[in-house]
């Protein structure tokens, strides 16, 4: 049973989350003042947050919850939870954040938009901290979407490049769609679990999993997590996101944002995990993503793309490890999460150094750079050690834990898959971390020189940290990995690490993995070019192409629907409106029996005369051969209605109706005078049988509706109230006017606003018409 964090008052964590947003606002100002030294100042923000997180690590078990009301009426609060899991992520976000800010200061030195860059980067940092610290699901969702928006802006930072714009949009659409699914899933979870707080849901496991909403909620949440963490088949945006500047790739697209999905899976594991659906969906999707990423990484030559695909593979591995909800597996996931963030951050930064100083990221052109860039090489080599999982690196520790988890799983298939992915990781570590620096110096190496210290501090520190933790693994286990795993598992944090367990079959397996990795590397060097040439046409038909088709299909559907709904022909709109209204009313009639008032119940002679006259005018309108006649006849219909109002003692209505009808006839006549070709209706204007049916149907429908309404007993309460209150309450004897300007003045205000809007619309239409006439006249002149 998971333990809930201790409730504390205060708003430390709110300050922590808001601090980067404040820095985002100030960043452009600081950059414009300090130019290239701005990064040093700005890096103090994440550095101090890192220090805060370190100082509060002691409270990470069982956790600490702080809540600030936000929208209390909707039970939305800014509640934050610092436990082992969120502490690990907070340290990664702020720690790597500090190094990335420093690094970006060097990488983008002198860039005209540096201020904007830092503003977005810091906004992202705040949003990401919000994601991992939020306990309230709505708050988490808001921060979650903010990270997607920041990612969009950062991927599209080089907005002049079409590729960057496409990639940015793709990332936004895929993660944004997933975000919507996540929101729906969270609503279902709150419905089933009875709380918006994640810490409450963790305690409501049995309810949640017994609820009929569990299945739909799980699927929606998984879609959200899988899109964010680039799982198959939503992975295609992540390689595209490499269009972002390299510091962004190191920060968002390897160390932090893409892990948000993994974070949420781990966070929800206590509430949703442990079922067959969870096991199968995470296992299948994660495993597939892991293998796909490993294979595709070997088929690229762009260093950043190679790293991006291995990130996809790593994310797959993490999801894969979270599939079985049991202890060794979760611990392995947390260890791997940490080690991957360290080595992948370092490798991206060294890749940026190569790009920046040697002018290319093409692996076929990068050789022998160790002499020109020794420190970059040192950093890359340390990171590669971890990635390959060699002894005395944190990667080794993670690999041991993964091996342990898989071995106790008793499923040979998963062990094989994990081993294959490990071997590929070993090969990629050689390709991306060692090969560019060794061997005969290439042309690009001749002009390369070492990067500035700001661009070396990050990769060196991250690489070294991987080795330090590797040599004293118990430190990493006690400080970070065990508390994080404890938050997921709901147990006390405990993790014993033995580096070497003797020469058993697992050790042999490790050796075999290294051998396989070395073999893959040699095969890559020997057959790589051929494999790339052969696979290219196949790879073009992947989900990335599917995304293009989907987008094109959506646009085509939208334009088809618009053409259908907005033909621009008035009579079509009118016909559609009446047909739909008619269908709705007819459908409503089937809901139950309804009475009709008897027809021709008495009625004075004059009333019948008016009715006959009105009906004749209506017929004349329909049969008129000139439009002027039709308009005049329509006016007569209106006059008939006016007379009925008079007969039933409604002078206000009668005057209004009379004036409106008069003005309509006059204005329409004035317009018709100006449209010579439009005066006489032609054969083509004659209504077809469909139109006649709709028109007749609408008439019958209105008549039936009126009779139906009249059959209901009249409720006089409203009329009596208005009659009684007009003089004392509204100081007026004309009840209609008192209603219009006093009792229901808000309605009237709305109506006169519509009148003004309609007048503006009419003027705009006439102006367009006038311009067209002027254009046509102009053409005739020529």
């Amino acid at each position: 049973m998971p333990q809930r964090g201790l409730q504390r008052s205060g708003c430390d964590m709110l300050t922590v989350v808001l601090a980067p947003f404040a820095a985002a606002l100030l960043a452009p100002l600081i950059v414009s003042r300090l130019r290239d030294r701005a990064a040093l100042v700005l890096a103090l923000v994440p550095a101090s947050l890192f220090a805060w997180a370190m100082a509060n690590l002691g409270e990470a078990f069982p956790g600490r919850i702080e809540a600030t009301p936000w929208v209390p009426g909707l039970s939305v609060s800014l509640s934050f939870n610092l436990d082992g899991l969120s502490a690990l992520f907070t340290l990664l976000i702020t720690g790597i954040g500090t190094l990335v800010v420093l690094y970006a200061g060097g990488y983008l030195a002198g860039h005209v938009m540096l201020g904007r860059f830092f503003a977005i980067l810091f906004a992202f940092m705040g949003a990401m901290l919000g994601v991992v610290l939020s306990d309230n699901m709505i708050a988490l969702f808001v921060f979650w979407e903010l990270t997607s928006l920041a990612s969009y802006l950062l991927v599209g930072f080089e907005a002049a490049k079409p590729h960057a714009r496409r990639s940015a949009l793709q990332a936004l659409l895929i993660t944004g769609t997933g975000g919507l699914a996540l929101l729906a899933g969270m609503i279902l979870l709150a419905e089933a679990g009875g709380s918006w707080e994640l810490s409450d849901l963790a305690l409501a496991k049995s309810w949640l999993q017994a609820s009929p909403l569990y299945g739909p909620a799980l699927v929606l949440v998984l879609v959200g997590c899988f899109t964010k963490s680039a799982q198959w088949p939503f992975h295609s945006w992540l390689p595209g996101a490499m269009a972002a500047p390299t510091p962004v790739s190191a920060y968002l697209h390897s160390a932090t944002m893409v892990k948000a999905g993994v974070y949420l899976l781990a966070r929800l594991e206590p509430a949703l995990g442990g079922t067959d659906v969870w096991l199968v969906s995470l296992g299948l999707v994660g495993g597939l993503t892991m293998l796909m990423g490993a294979v595709f990484a070997l088929l690229e030559t762009d260093l950043k793309l190679v790293l991006a695909w291995t990130t996809v593979a790593a994310l797959g591995t993490l999801v894969f490890l979270l599939a079985p909800s049991f202890e060794p597996s979760v611990k392995a996931a947390m260890a791997f999460l940490l080690v991957h963030a360290l080595y992948k951050g370092a490798l991206f930064m060294t890749a940026g150094n190569l790009d920046h100083e040697a002018g290319t990221r093409d692996l076929t052109r990068l050789r022998g750079l160790a002499r020109a860039m020794p420190l970059t090489f040192a950093a890359a080599a340390m990171a590669a050690f971890s990635m390959a999982g060699l002894p005395a690196s944190l990667g080794w520790v993670a690999k041991e834990l993964i091996g342990l988890a898989k071995a106790s799983d008793e499923i040979g298939l998963t062990l094989t898959a994990a081993t294959a992915a490990n071997a590929a990781g070993f090969a990629v570590a050689c390709i991306a971390g060692l090969r560019p620096y060794l061997g005969q110096a290439s042309e690009a190496a001749a002009e390369a020189h070492e990067a500035p210290w700001t661009m070396l501090a990050g990769p060196l520190l991250l690489g070294a940290l991987g080795l330090v933790f590797g040599m004293s693994p118990q430190l990493a286990a006690d400080l970070l990995i065990a508390p994080a795993a404890a938050a997921v598992l709901g147990t006390k944090p405990a993790l014993e690490i033995t580096l070497f367990k003797g020469f058993d079959w697992k050790f042999l397996l490790t050796l075999a993995t290294f051998a396989a990795g070395a073999a893959i590397y040699l095969a890559w060097v020997r057959f790589g070019a051929e494999a790339r040439a052969r696979s290219a046409p196949v790879l073009e038909r992947g989900p990335d192409r599917g995304y293009d088709h989907l987008l094109a299909g959506l646009a085509a559907f939208a334009s088809w629907l618009t053409r259908l709904m907005q033909p621009g022909l008035l009579h079509r709109y009118v016909a559609a409106t009446f047909a739909v209204v008619g269908l709705v009313v007819i459908a409503g009639a089937f809901r139950g029996p309804f009475a009709l008032a008897p027809l021709g119940d008495g009625g004075k002679l004059i009333e019948w005369a008016v009715i006959v006259l009105t009906a004749a005018a209506a017929l004349a309108t329909a049969l008129a051969t000139t439009r002027l006649l039709a308009v005049t006849a329509l006016g007569m219909v209106g006059l008939g209605v006016t007379m009925i109002f008079m007969l039933w003692s409604a002078p206000d209505l009668a005057i209004t109706q009379f004036m409106v009808e008069t003005l309509i006839v006059v204005i329409l006549a004035l317009i018709l005078i100006r449209l010579p070709g439009f005066r006489i209706t032609s054969e083509a204007d004659r209504p077809g049988p469909g139109t006649i049916m709709i028109a007749a149907g609408a008439g019958v429908l209105v008549a039936v509706l009126m009779l139906g309404v009249l059959a209901e007993p009249f409720d006089p309460r409203l009329a009596e109230w208005f009659g009684a209150n007009a003089v004392p309450g509204g100081l007026g004897r004309n009840v209609v006017n008192v209603i219009l300007v006093d009792f229901r003045a808000l309605d009237t205000l709305g109506e006169i606003t519509v009148v003004v809007a309609a007048a503006l619309g009419g003027i705009a239409a006439m102006m367009r018409f006038g311009r067209r006439r002027a254009d046509a006249g102009g053409r005739e002149d020529r």
């Binding site: 002078p651 206000d652 005057i655 209004t656 004036m659 409106v660 008069t662 003005l663 006059v666 204005i667 006549a669 004035l670 317009i671 005078i673 100006r674 449209l675 509204g730 100081l731 007026g732 004897r733 004309n734 209609v736 006017n737 008192v738 219009l740 300007v741 006093d742 003045a745 808000l746 009237t748 205000l749 006169i752 606003t753 009148v755 003004v756 309609a758 007048a759 503006l760 009419g762 003027i763 006439m766 102006m767 018409f769 006038g770 311009r771 006439r773």
Partner: protein, 139 residues
Amino acid sequence: MSSLILRAATRALAPLLLMLSLFLLWRGHNEPGGGFIGGLVAASAAALQGIAFGPAAARRMLWLPPVGVAAIGLALAVLSILPSALAGLPPMEALWAKLDLGDGAVVPLGTPLLFDIGVFLVVVGSVVALIAALEYAPE
């Protein structure tokens, strides 16, 4: 459209119609009439002008651009909300002031009257604007 009779009649009728419209507006709170009806009557005067002398003449009846008149009307109607809001009452709650003219004649003036004048101006402005827009479609 150049009927001498129509033109002569319009010169006489249009001012009468305008006066009638103001009368309807004023008495509307107690007898049939009101801002909406008054506005329509004034607009029909403009329509008459439009038929007899062309759309431009209809526009010239107003001192301001017709859309501006409509906008002022809308602004007046919105403004009539303010007094009660400032007095701490629910917005749009009617406020009345009695204007004593002596001889026992008391004229109640209130925010609903301001609102009704706003309605009047909106209707006049909008309809005249539409008639005046016919200028864009030359004969």
